[in-house]
């Protein structure tokens, strides 16, 4: 092929291909630059590694896939026809080494007969697939991932709405957008090329008295002037429920974007794709789409050959001959409607000659057209059904879908006037549609589908190396449905997604199995219409924008105090403070907390207010423990169960007034508890008599815990009687801090005397400062969550989800009273009486003690043997070294655990045997004397 540049201007750009330095021009795609440089072989077929040249001009291109390096960073698998050339680009072919032209693997073609479609299902069984897999993997894959290139997550998605979304700015789309705009509607017009016009850009046409391209530009200008959105370089790649259309907008100096557009009407004016002819050796470099030749000529000034043979079965493609002759090529036309047949193409590395009906012609380029396939993808994604129109040998949209119109070539209307008329109507246009100069007859075409039993190797899918013989093989083995054909032969599964192969493939199958094309049907159309970068789908959800954690109001204060933060229950919280390892700091804090007074930020703990005349009923129903008997000013600890009777969460509930409760729950469960309270509020009670407010984020809670905690509270002088008679354990009272209500609650998660002070969040910094100040003479210090987890474990206090699993019921935790005695209904009640709930060998929460100084590993399983077989009887849920007790402590869920207290059990961790004794869960101060110490 002697493709070359013949016209046009633009800044010169240097690039390289497979190591060869070349020149291109501003405005080139990589493909047009390669053609202009006379490069013939740009890639290799996937399986047989036969040489491949550029076939098409845009997204339908099956062959010219390249890895591109820009600024030292490489991106694999870019399509040369849709990638714009930039200065200094390093371009490499894929799946070929050392170069596409000199590919070492080209010997594989000699063994082609032994490796047809699906051959790998029939072999590689002995000795083992794993023996062959590495070689197969190494030969598979196209481009190469660059391990050092981590594209940023900066593709910001944007939402939009409009009356009409027009996909495609060719004649039909422009007419639709213009009509809609003039009718006063809001319009979005998108086209995947940088300039509007579609086929108007490379065909000699006239619309409303001016050249087609000029008319297109004027329409776009009018739309923009009227405030409509015109998006170039934008592909509509998917239609989803309720007319949601996803767009991929390519931008040059900024990150690409995904648009999510909800349109009242979508007009699909996406044109059509020329399909190849199928004949022996039709995969040779130099065999190109006739339309592509026109595109390269008009848009890039590249003439694809000097001695061109143009073989087509339709008048639209045949019309390419004239412009190519005018550009200086010798063009021989073979009008296949009149009977001639392509016997073959000669030239192993590229077209040298073509034989048609026995006559051999020297040529350096064979342009082919087997017809045009309407681009119906978006219509089909929206679940539209197709019908086959044999006058134009194409599948076109059948029954229209509400909210969607298809116009122009996408609708099988190939003449310019038809396209303008249909677009104008689809846009709801008043008056007359734009007028094309030529009258425009329908496509004249004689189908040239692949024929079974033909000689030679005839390609249908160029990239995945699928031939007519492969389709015959599939049919022979009864993979007759088009879906089986696709999956068995991989036809249509390459990166071009079957744009040039699906029709030929199904037509071949139809012919082979004696069915009509309509009866054979197409495979399911699914997004994306073209491969879309993952970054465009992912958007900005990365790093700290990915599942962001909730923040404490006191975060700055904790940082200043030297906190090391960790994520707990969706919040960022101090794990410990100060220097030293986690282990050292945690032990130090836990030890000191039982000696002086620790200050702990408990703000994330759920604070859900349930208010109203039926609040008591709801709160009672939601809780395993009866709460209606609670007096105002008091707390009660209890569980919330799922409907399966499993402990969902635990926590304390306070009664503020007869009709006002504060339900506390673990920080990570707040949304879940809110949801279940809301659900029962609406479903079982009178919503007008209950309100549920989640006040968690608006209130801050600072806890003072330890033997000196009362002294700290006294120093704060919050105006509350702190005597144990006035404020016993599990009671609360309201005081004042800095003009705001400060609720002081005596609840304890450490087992020591504790006071939780709750104030509006804006008062938290002042309260924290006051506590630190007041605590100075008391050796008060800030304590993190890790120490708290240790302290509560010493007391056997459970953490829901850590010391319970999804089967744990309240009686497994030793709390049987409500199940045994509570009369009324509550969530989960009846599940507590199933066979399984009543078993006597359920997992129960116990403590474990060991000899020596090494704590048990959390997650170690307790085991016993049944009939010689080992089985798990539970596992360790929490395990620490206790600085107060000077020995390890642990909690575990063990089958029949409460009945085993005093026994020694066996455990195993990663194969290592261990022993422990079963104890009650509480290891420290079981009488609870420290609460009032």
């Amino acid at each position: 092929m002697t493709a070359r540049r013949i016209s046009g201007s633009g800044a010169s750009l240097s690039f390289s291909f497979d190591g060869r330095p070349l020149q291109g021009r501003a405005g080139d795609t990589i493909a047009s630059a390669l053609l202009a440089s006379g490069v013939r072989i740009v890639g290799r077929g996937f399986k047989y590694h036969r040489p491949r040249g550029i076939y098409g001009h845009w997204t339908e291109e099956p062959n010219a896939l390249v890895d591109v390096t820009r600024d030292g960073r490489t991106t694999p698998n870019l399509r040369a026809t849709t990638e714009w050339l930039t200065e200094g680009m390093i371009v490499r072919s894929v799946n070929a080494a050392p170069t596409a032209e000199t590919d070492r693997s080209r010997y594989l073609d000699r063994f082609a007969r032994f490796i047809p479609a699906g051959f790998y299902y029939k072999t590689f069984l002995w000795p083992d697939w794993h023996r062959f897999e590495p070689s197969i993997r190494a030969m598979a894959g196209l481009g190469r991932l660059d391990p050092d290139h981590e594209p940023p997550a900066d593709a910001a998605p944007v939402n939009a709405r409009c009356d009409i979304l027009v996909v495609g700015a060719g004649p039909a789309g422009l007419a639709a957008a213009l009509a809609a705009s003039r009718a006063g509607r809001s319009v979005m017009l998108v086209d995947d090329r940088p300039e509007p016009g579609g086929s108007l850009l490379w065909n000699e046409t006239e619309v409303d008295g001016v050249g087609g391209a000029e008319w297109a530009g004027a329409v776009a200008r009018e739309l923009r002037d009227r405030g409509q959105r015109v998006l170039p370089d934008t592909t509509a790649f998917g239609v989803f429920d309720h007319n949601l259309v996803a767009l991929w907008e390519r931008r040059h100096d900024q990150p690409d974007r995904q648009w999510r557009v909800r349109a009242k009407t979508v007009v699909v004016a996406a044109g059509s794709i020329e399909r190849p002819l199928v004949f022996p050796d039709n995969d040779r470099p130099g065999v190109m789409s006739a339309e592509a030749a026109l595109v390269y000529l008009k848009l890039h000034g590249v003439l694809v050959g000097e001695r061109i043979v143009l073989a087509a079965n339709n008048d639209r493609a045949l019309a390419a001959a004239e412009p190519l002759r005018a550009a200086g090529a010798a063009v021989t036309v073979a009008d296949l409607r009149e009977g001639p047949v392509i016997d073959g193409v000669h030239g192993a590395s590229g077209v040298e000659a073509v034989t048609i009906s026995g006559r051999r012609m020297e040529a350096d380029c064979l342009l082919v057209s087997g017809g045009f396939t309407p681009t119906v993808h978006l219509f089909c994604q929206a679940k539209g059904r197709l019908r086959y129109d044999d006058r134009i040998a194409a599948f076109v949209p059948g029954e229209p879908l509400p909210g969607m119109a298809v116009a122009g070539a996408a609708n099988g209307a190939f003449s310019l006037q038809e396209a303008l008329d249909q677009g104008h109507a689809a846009g709801g246009g008043n008056g007359v549609a734009p007028r094309a100069a030529a009258s425009g007859a329908p496509l004249s075409i004689k189908p040239a589908w692949p024929r079974p039993g033909s000689k030679g190797r005839q390609w249908i899918d160029f990239q995945n190396d699928v031939t007519v013989k492969d389709v015959e093989l599939a049919a022979r083995e009864n993979f007759r449905s088009v879906e089986h054909l696709k999956r068995y032969t991989t036809l249509g599964m390459a990166t071009d997604q079957g744009k040039t192969s699906n029709m030929n493939g199904l037509a071949a199958m139809a012919a082979i199995t004696g069915r009509t094309i309509e009866a054979t049907g197409t495979t399911t159309y699914r997004p994306p219409f073209v491969p879309v970068p993952f970054t465009v789908i992912a958007g900005r959800r990365r790093g700290e924008l990915f599942n962001p954690v909730r923040r404490l109001v006191l975060e700055a204060e904790h940082r200043a105090a030297g906190a090391v933060f960790r994520e707990y229950g969706g919040w960022l919280r101090p794990a410990w403070y100060g220097p030293g390892s986690a282990f050292e700091a945690t032990l130090r804090e836990a030890k000191q907390a039982r000696e002086t007074v620790a200050i702990f930020d408990g703000s994330p703990l759920g604070k859900i207010e349930v208010m109203g005349p039926q609040a008591t009923d709801l709160v009672d129903y939601n809780s395993y423990n009866t709460l209606s008997t609670l007096k105002p000013g008091r707390f009660r600890y209890g569980f919330m169960l799922t409907e399966s009777g499993v402990v969902y969460d635990d926590g304390v509930t306070a009664r503020i007034a007869d009709d006002h409760y504060l339900v506390s729950c673990s920080s990570g469960h707040v949304p879940g508890v809110m949801a279940r309270l809301e659900e029962w509020r609406q479903d079982r009670f009178d919503p007008a008599k209950i309100a549920i407010h989640n006040s968690t984020a608006g209130l801050a809670t600072l806890t003072a815990t330890g033997p000196r905690s009362r002294r700290l509270l006294e120093a704060l002088a919050l105006g509350v009687d702190l005597s144990d008679e006035a404020l016993p354990h599990m009671a609360f009272a309201d005081g004042v801090f800095d003009g705001a209500t400060a609720r002081i609650a005596r609840v304890s998660f450490t087992g020591d005397r504790s006071y939780e002070i709750t104030v509006p969040a804006s008062k938290a910094p002042a309260l924290f400062a006051a506590m630190v100040e007041a605590g100075r003479p008391l050796d008060a210090f800030p304590m993190g969550s890790e120490a708290l987890l240790l302290l509560r474990a010493e007391k056997g206090f459970l953490i829901a989800g850590k010391d319970t699993d999804g089967t744990t019921m309240p009686h497994d935790l030793g709390v049987r009273g409500p199940r045994d005695r509570r009369a009324g209904e509550y969530v989960g009640k009846r599940s507590l009486f199933t066979d399984d709930a009543m078993r006597d060998d359920r997992q129960q929460l116990v403590g474990l003690s060991v000899e020596g100084e090494t704590p048990l590993p959390t997650g170690a399983h307790a085991v016993d043997r049944i009939e010689g077989r080992r089985r798990s009887i539970g596992f360790v849920t929490s395990s620490y070294w206790s600085p107060t007790l000077g020995r390890p402590i642990a909690l575990a869920l063990i089958r029949r655990g409460l009945g085993r207290i005093g026994e020694t059990i066996e455990l195993v961790h990663l194969g290592r045997p261990l022993k422990a004794s079963v104890t009650p869960p509480c290891a420290l101060d079981p009488e609870g004397a420290r609460l009032n110490a």
Binding site: P157, R161, V549, R550, R551, A691, P760
Partner: protein
């Protein structure tokens, strides 16, 4: 910058991952076409139940706001659900939580929601990235998912949007705004 591959012991990864919570009293963002600031000093009160009675009790002059409504003055009643609203800008002082005999519950929400304002000619483009809601059609409820967070969204001006999010999530919203390209 620590490479996690070298790590063998637990490290303080949270320090490198999570940017500090900003000082909402002073922090702002200035960009081409838009700016953002935190709005402080607004009184807020969450009410559920008989909304007419609640309005009468706290802010009889409050204008009702739905999604994308423009609040030209305060106080306002921002609808959340059929029977829930947020009263903003009332002057009755801190509201103690509880049920009122008129048939509604109230709790102070002044510290519950942080308020962020985005203003400028490009404000609409920013909001278009944050929510898919149909702003021009609006909705009686001002509730949306904004930048992935549960929020209330209305305007105080043609080109100024106000977003209420729970205080604990305000940092996430702020970082989302700060990291917008451009």
């Amino acid at each position: 910058m620590p490479d996690l591959r070298q790590r063998t012991a637990p490290l303080d990864h949270a320090a490198t991952l999570w940017s500090p919570r900003p000082d909402f009293a002073s922090v702002t963002i200035e960009r081409d076409g838009w700016a953002a600031r935190s709005v402080t000093g607004l009184s807020q009160c969450l009410v559920s139940g008989n909304l007419a009675a609640a309005r009468k009790a706290f802010a009889p002059d409050a204008l009702e706001m739905g999604l994308w409504s423009i609040a030209t003055s305060i106080p306002i009643l921002v609808r959340i659900a059929r029977d829930r609203a947020l009263i903003v800008g009332h002057d009755t002082g801190v509201v103690p939580s509880g049920w009122r005999p008129e048939g509604f519950a109230a709790s102070d929400a002044t510290d519950l929601y942080a308020v962020v304002e985005i203003a400028g000619p490009a404000m609409r483009d920013i909001v278009a990235q944050a929510t898919a809601a149909d702003l021009d059609s609006g909705s009686p409820s001002a509730t949306v998912v904004f930048a992935g967070l549960q929020a209330l969204l209305y305007r105080v001006d043609e080109q100024a949007a106000r977003i209420h999010v729970e205080t604990s999530q305000a940092t996430a919203l702020w970082h989302w705004l700060e990291k917008l390209p451009g």
